[in-house]
Symmetry: C2
DNA sequence: CCTGAAAAGCCCTCACG
DNA sequence: CGTGAGGGCTTTTCAGG
């Protein structure tokens, strides 16, 4: 089972290890060890501890959407009819591959989603043919990201 | 309708390799090779090709913010005075570690940001003591994410 | 574009300070 | 916590089909 957040003690060396791997998940343990100045075995032990603590959610290759021709990112606020339950809307949104994030939010909308499309025309199709077709979706508000200027993880 | 730019040719095997690594960046080349059914050397060559094509933006360890006590995520729409330039606002936002994303958007706001805070009180402090203090920020609208139900990358 | 082989390097465990 | 040593696996390169 998971350990509780309270018995999680990460020191400066743990933080250094994490900072290296958050930038490059494929960096070798020995290279990190040489950078920090302790043995590979020590890094290995600390990593196992960090993994079993639940702090590490996994690792990912990040692919560059622009290289695949996906250049239009947008946020869409969705109003749902009162009769429409959030879970069944999410189930439909999951089927749309262009939907990368979905948040159940406070405020005007029921749902806020992030979509990634090839271009504005593609975005329009996703809006008209996919999102607006979902039962219970009454209205949407779209905000196109002209430029993403910050993209990072939590600072450790 | 083309889905990829012309100079980039990725076939089914490339896609399989990427799908494995997008899920787990530390999966070994040989393990991928065994799954796909070709030699490790072939996977290695294809990975080098994919890296030099610009398709791969990097790799990341994903850490679990909840394990660090960060449980409140929110989106904040920011209105800027006309006199305030976007780049100088972004420069200030970069200094706030709780700001994870920053988008220059069409629509009502000048800027849409994503923040991650420990709790609602921390969010309030970030709003009052950091964001509202930035020169040129006239008004903000905050949407707390009660639950993030989808979080994924582009489908390959 | 693939392969298998071979050298170099890394992962992981262990016994111990 | 830390270490260094060692067996086994991986990475990386290369000549060849």
């Amino acid at each position: 089972m998971k350990s509780t957040p309270d018995n999680l003690k990460i020191d400066g060396i743990d933080k250094e290890i994490l900072r290296f791997l958050m930038k490059d998940a494929r960096k070798s343990i020995l290279e990190i060890a040489r950078n920090i100045g302790i043995s590979g075995a020590a890094i290995h032990q600390r990593l196992r501890k960090l993994e079993s603590s639940g702090l590490i959610a996994g690792s990912k290759f990040v692919i560059n959407p622009k290289a695949l021709g996906y250049t239009t990112m947008a946020y869409i606020g969705i109003y749902l009819d009162k009769a429409m339950s959030n879970p069944s809307a999410v189930k439909e949104l999951e089927k749309i591959p262009e939907v990368l994030e979905c948040h159940y939010t406070t405020g005007n909308w029921s749902i806020l989603i992030k979509v990634l499309c090839r271009d504005n025309e593609h975005l329009m199709q996703v809006l008209n043919k996919n999102i607006q077709q979902i039962e219970g979706v009454s209205r949407t508000e779209t905000f196109i990201s002209l430029d993403q200027q910050i993209d990072r993880q939590i600072t450790i």
